[in-house]
């Protein structure tokens, strides 16, 4: 069979119907068409595993990306202060909520083919669009700084100086963008993200009491010390470690950049569920791994990454401590990549500039420019002596939760917008779940505010 006929014969979709296209497709469209061609082939041949392999990515990336350095430190602080108990099932619950929110972004992206910031801008106008973008860029910049703090702390365990760790991280992250293909970038970062599961062997090495683990899931307890201000802070920090605004912006834009279509929504859901499962497992493993610090009454509340790794050595061995430090380093590296990408997507969508990982630097200068700029600024903040890093690390997860209600409100309004979603708009069941998540997060924030304003009141 002639080569051209073979190409044209790949599915009924590739029939030449456009005899006179208005203009030649650009590099972004050509790259996306190549990806779509593979998906169409897999679907036509009923190669289900190939189809899933081709379509997974944004969901796993967003979930493992959110298991970032401050999140893993939050889980480590949870394990060291509360041991095995209430927080294990609670963390699983937060990932269920994350799945509910992220599933909406898959449908929004696959149906509208527009990023989250772009849709807010188009449907709610410039004022609210800019507000959403500024909120995102502000919290993303702070979070990026904490990712570099994690990278420096993880590298510090191996004796690597801070400035070398920062420069190496920036080179690795920008190196992944140099492929100029969304697909290649996604697979590179996915490979790196799999190292998040490094916390699982560390948990095994800590010889956990599996009976206590099982008991905690059945009883949602124990909760040592009961509910107090510190418990609420950890609670809020763990919610912020799982559900944050940048995830909504990132996954929807990544779904669009990957080129998912309406027919791919189910695979997009599987991708998100798989990501939530992997990330929840890594989070639980971190809590379990640091539980021996609670058993031995170590005051680990203000520990950094390297201190956790050092403190764990007597319980998990030198190798276990090394794995823990590597895990924090990896968490910071992957999240720095996904968070800076979400900033660049949002900025270019609102400014109506060209922004895609399928484009070259020449074609998307502001996209790549912003990406590199935020990385350089965040990296510089970490190596500049006297930077208020401790404040940033303390507030970043909490800020993420507190800025979440407006982000979820826009998400639900868009998911119910008939002009955007058509027949795919949210059902009453999905709305109930989405509103449930929004109410839960808002209530957690309000209880936190009350505990700060009225510290004398015992909860």
């Amino acid at each position: 069979m002639p080569r051209d006929a073979q190409v044209q014969g790949i599915g009924e979709f590739a029939v030449e119907t456009f005899s006179n296209p208005a203009k030649a497709p650009n590099s972004e469209e050509t790259a996306r068409a190549l990806d779509r061609l593979q998906v169409l082939y897999a679907r036509q041949r009923r190669r289900r595993f190939l189809l899933v392999w081709l379509l997974i990515g944004p969901g796993i990336l967003v979930m493992l990306g959110e298991n970032d350095a401050p999140s893993m430190l939050s889980y480590a602080a949870t394990g060291s202060q509360f041991g095995i108990g209430f927080f294990l099932p609670f963390v699983v619950l937060t990932f269920v909520m994350a799945f509910i929110a992220q599933e909406i972004t898959v449908r929004l992206g696959a149906i509208s083919k527009a990023g989250h910031a772009e849709l807010i801008y188009r449907r709610f106008g410039r004022f609210w669009g800019n507000f959403a973008m500024i909120d995102l860029l502000f919290t993303n910049c702070l979070t990026l700084v904490t990712e570099f703090v994690g990278i420096v702390a993880g590298a510090g365990f191996f004796g690597v100086p801070a400035y070398i760790a920062v420069i190496a991280a920036i080179l690795i992250i920008t190196g992944a963008y140099s492929f100029r293909r969304y697909w290649s970038w996604e697979r590179t970062i996915l490979t790196m993200a799999m190292f998040n599961l490094i916390f699982i062997p560390v948990a095994y090495m800590s010889h956990p009491n599996w009976g206590a683990v099982f008991h905690s899931f059945v009883t949602f307890g124990p909760l040592p010390g009961g509910v107090n201000k510190n418990t609420i802070l950890i609670l809020l920090s763990d919610i912020g470690a799982t559900i944050t605004p940048w995830m909504l912006f990132f996954q929807q834009s990544a779904v669009v950049d990957k080129g998912l279509s309406m027919n791919d929504v189910n695979q997009g859901r599987m991708d998100t569920a798989l990501g939530a499962l992997l990330a929840a497992t890594a989070a639980l493993a971190t809590i379990i791994a640091t539980a021996p610090l609670f058993m031995h009454h170590m005051a680990a509340a203000q520990f950094g990454a390297a201190q956790f790794a050092q403190a764990l050595v007597p319980y998990v061995g030198r190798f276990g401590g090394t794995l823990f430090a590597l895990g924090i380093l990896e968490a910071g590296l992957v999240a720095a990549s996904t968070i800076s990408t979400s900033s660049a997507y949002a900025y270019t969508e609102v400014r109506r500039h060209s922004g895609s990982l399928n484009k070259s630097f020449q074609e998307a200068k502001s996209f790549y420019g912003l990406l590199v700029a935020v990385l350089l600024v965040a990296g510089a903040v970490v190596v500049i002596p006297g930077s208020p890093l401790i404040y940033i690390v303390l507030v970043v997860n909490v800020l993420a939760v507190l800025t979440m209600p407006p982000a979820i409100a826009f998400l639900l309004l868009l998911a119910n917008d008939e002009e955007v979603m058509g027949e795919h708009k949210n059902t009453w069941f999905l709305n109930t779940m989405g509103i449930g998540v929004a109410v839960f997060i808002s209530l957690a924030g309000i209880i936190y505010a009350l505990s700060v304003i009225f510290p004398e009141v015992h909860l």
Binding site: Q38, R122, W128, V395, P406, A409
Partner: protein, 76 residues
């Protein structure tokens, strides 16, 4: 070189670039959505919706202030 499961069904980016009509055909759904997106106008917001969004905005600002109080109080 991208594979489609067997050697006979390979196509690479440069080949696809030479076939713009094929690209357009494959991205039919995407082109339609982009066209629809261009005509998507700003939605009309009623007073209750505006009030709701402003309420959430003030909630976020208030909460950020609370966080700053919580962080800086123990320091001073």
């Amino acid at each position: 070189m991208a594979t489609f499961g067997s050697v006979e069904q390979r196509i690479c980016l440069s080949e696809l670039r030479a076939k713009p009509h094929l690209v357009t055909s494959i991205l039919d759904e995407h082109m339609e959505s982009k066209k629809k997106l261009k005509h998507l106008s700003e939605r009309k917001m009623g007073p209750w919706l505006k009030l709701f969004l402003w309420g959430l905005r003030l909630y976020a600002i208030f909460m950020i202030v609370v966080v700053l109080i919580n962080v800086f109080q123990p320091v001073h």
